[in-house]
Symmetry: C2
DNA sequence: GATAGGGTCTATAGTCACTATAGGTTCAAG
DNA sequence: CTTGAACCTATAGTGACTATAGACCCTATC
């Protein structure tokens, strides 16, 4: 039986994160010691490891919830799992494309800066003028990983 | 003089976002109509365009605040600007590296899935076992863009 | 001048995935 | 039996917005 701190060290997950996962229902409520402290077995440790690994791969918690659910039902077909993974792969592809473009523009900005006063700064100039920038995807956001 | 909606359309920024930028001090408090509605001139429009462009390049708002400040002082040397841009470039490089690794692992997962029941699902199996995964950077996060 | 509608106002809460804090309790070693 | 680290709960904060509610304004048409 592991304390929350031991589980934290074992899985590389911070203690508040474990409690957070419990609160949002990703981890089951564990047993408690007589004094009321959480005690974990290997099933919980496996589940948490699964979650952390999926998080490292950038899956959002809602997807992970679904993956865990599917994982709990070995008889169900794995198409849904596949779909979730492919969706995530797609997303990462999109982010990569975008990041490469950003890197390009930033690189151009930085290398064209010759020093001097900010009044002549090429970086600021580029930021000021929208000429020759990407600006394809105006208001998008992309989280994590 | 532009209404907030007109400025929104001109810069591709949502109206609540403009008000949010004002609240956190990135945009100055604009003049108002007799009825109390915000009215913007071209200086504000330029400033907002600068902010949006920097955001598209992934700069966090705090960096943008500093860039705007430097931009307001044309006599100062542009080294700081350069440093901020280089830092951002670095960050993007790191994110790219990581995303490429993620893409690789996800791709392997997805292509090795042969269909069938979730009990044999290769995707879930990989998520369950930490063997041959990246796991170098345990608890890191990386926002935006 | 009245009215209709769309735009605008403020304030507040929600998003995602945590992280930090405060103030108290329990556990294990010595 | 005492110490001090680890644990408990509850709440608030992060970043960069987004959404909602309920009231008010502005302009155009009648």
């Amino acid at each position: 039986m592991l304390s929350i701190g031991a589980l934290s060290r074992q899985t590389g997950t911070k203690v508040p994160t474990i409690r957070y996962y419990e609160k949002i229902g990703l981890l089951p409520e564990p047993g408690r010691s007589t004094g009321g402290q959480r005690r974990y077995g290997s099933a919980e440790a496996d589940r948490l490891a699964f979650i952390r690994h999926a998080r490292q791969l950038g899956f959002p918690l809602d997807d992970i919830r679904e993956l865990l659910d599917l994982s709990d039902h070995p008889d169900r077909p794995c198409e849904e799992v596949d779909a979730i993974a492919r969706r995530q792969l797609d997303l990462i592809g999109q982010r990569l494309e975008r990041l490469v473009a950003l890197q390009g523009e930033l690189q151009r900005m930085v290398t064209s800066c010759q020093g001097g006063a900010t009044s002549d700064c090429r970086v600021l100039e580029v930021l000021r003028s929208h000429a020759n920038c990407l600006c394809e995807t105006p208001g998008d956001r992309a989280p994590d990983a």
